[in-house]
Symmetry: C2
Subunit: 126 residues, 2 copies
Amino acid sequence: MADLEQNKQVVVSYYQTAFDGEPEKAVELYVGDRYIQHNPMAADGTDAFIGFVKWIRGENPQLKLEIKRVFAEDDIVITHSHLTLKPGEPGQALADFFRVENGKVVEHWDVIQDIPSTSANDNTMF
Amino acid sequence: MADLEQNKQVVVSYYQTAFDGEPEKAVELYVGDRYIQHNPMAADGTDAFIGFVKWIRGENPQLKLEIKRVFAEDDIVITHSHLTLKPGEPGQALADFFRVENGKVVEHWDVIQDIPSTSANDNTMF
């Protein structure tokens, strides 16, 4: 169980550090010897990740990533998060899956959905 | 650990049975005394879920749900799935989170993304 909690901490630190504006530091501290990317918008490797975060933060300096919940099993950590590019916008719901090997992130999958401005229920997407 | 494996089985059976075309049976066997819905397109309760599955299968009789991986922690089960409405289409990537209480599904969140026809990497979204 200790490893699962440690893996969660690695992933949360990696993800939040990057989106808070320090993607190079996040990669240096928390990514392993490779970064296998399944997000279809990004190439493999950390350069594409760093470039993406810098670009999206440049376009949206008030960007805010709120990691709502974190789960772990075996070598996988799952996060369910709310990304807001501009204050007051509904933002996006994100599910991310990270594979952690020897305490470092080595692989990433995600699913991203724009949050609609109206909903058929009162529960929010989180 | 037994409960986690049992919860995974409940969720996989629920989800696959419903999308294979028997949503009423899925609800009867696997849903608890309430169904809290976070998908913004659906109302709370199982009636909306059954109606949605019947509608989408009616529109897409060759619909196929492939659950790629399943994780569990505490009372939450997470699935990462590929939904194809029509053969040959890229389909959608789905991340679903289910809360299981006393062996029954009682709450559901999801994140849904259309899979683009081209990708910046060769790894697929799964």
